[in-house]
Amino acid sequence: MDLARHWRLKDQRYRLEGTVCADCGAKFFPPRQVCLECKSTNLTPREFNGHGELYSFTTLRSAPMGFEDQVPYTVGVVKLDEGPMVEAQITDVNADALKIGQRMEMVTRKLRAQGDNGLIIYGYKFRPETKAD
């Protein structure tokens, strides 16, 4: 059950696949079936390039179940250059060095493991941009 759920989200987790409205051009991540701007249901898949700006971030000292072994860890909101915002963990950086507004890029990492024999969930995290593409 859990396996199917994570498999279902693979296009979002690995490729930041959202949707674009064929009628008004509005872009969405996560994908939507109804356009927020014009109520059209004529939406098609669209991949996002994973670059953007850090909108906000915080470091958790107390974790929800399943993330205890990662504490402390940092999560953030990234505003993609193409419009949508994404929430994810921030990686490859000391949180003290982060600044709102700085350039970020998506990377694929392990999100969490469900015990020693359980599912390992991979997906996007963000890190400071290494170089402009």
Partner: protein
Amino acid sequence: MRNVSVVGIGQTQVGEHWDRSLRDLATEAALNALRDAHVDHADAIFVGNMLSGQLTGQENLGALIADEVGLRGVDTLKVEAACGSGAAALHVGYLAVASGQFDLVLVAGAEKLTESSSCNTTASLAMAADADYETVHGISFIALNALLMKRYMYEYDLVPEDFAAFSVNAHANAVHNPNAMFRSPITVEHYKRARDISDPISVMDSAPVCDGAAAVVLMATDNLNGNRARAIKIAASAIGSDSLGLHDRRDPMWLSAVELSSQKAYRQAGIAPQDVNLFEVHDAFSIMSVMSLEAAGFAARGRGALLAREGAITPQGKLPISTMGGLKARGHPVGATGVYQAAEVVQQLRGEAGKNQVANAHVGMAQSLGGIAANAVTHIFVN
């Protein structure tokens, strides 16, 4: 639609009730409310609760509580709207009486958060957020509020101390509330020294995990007879909604659901924000108080924290908030909170708020939020 009045209130003390079950707490509050209303029955019972299934393994609370309070057989259901569940149950109760379907309705909010490990409770509270795009990344409910607060501080050039007055006011008011969890005052120094949970949010900036239950009895105002001098009219009951996820907001710095439900409520009651004598705000985190004050029309955008610094929010101020301790110090048993707020506003409008009595209180507003204001439930009461 008929007018609806609150004719009875009941509250248990909020705290870590290791010795009491969810059904004990809900039953105590419900029986207190029925006694306060001088009635021994109700036509229907609506129970507000968020996490009974997840944390105590018990669902079907409507039938359970109806049976426990001796009203087996009545019309009943559980109402869930995350942390706004209690207020949402009150909304359903209000609609049930206003519509003419029922004359006498019991609304109970109950929650037991201490039944499980703290990391399980933290994970469960995060169910108010977007499971596929927030929770899966380890983003707790506190972290969501921290993300909002950090951005807010950045946009309006504030420091954490600018938010301290909310917690100081809540604790000062809880000292005189026998139902409150934290009955000791705190200072700005306590606030500044507090341990970070998810920066910039510290333990002194967030409501505690706890247990509690509260209940109110609603009656059609036309059916009140002469001896109902303590009846308080519900002048408005309105819900507004927004995206669950922070990432899905057009403008994360504005709580649209709060604006929508407040404006609907003002219209229903025929009042403006300046007519409100006291406001039980959803102060689960001080950033929620600040942003609620703005979106509800009590402060200009970016000026919510200033209202607290100027002293407007104390019982003697222009807009007293969290008058019995609020979520921060009375405590926040999530699905019960909205009903506590309603009971406290009724105490104020009856003139029964003791040392926290707001002078000349005629119009009181209560607002309860689910998630990061994915839903906002607003009630306005008048005496």
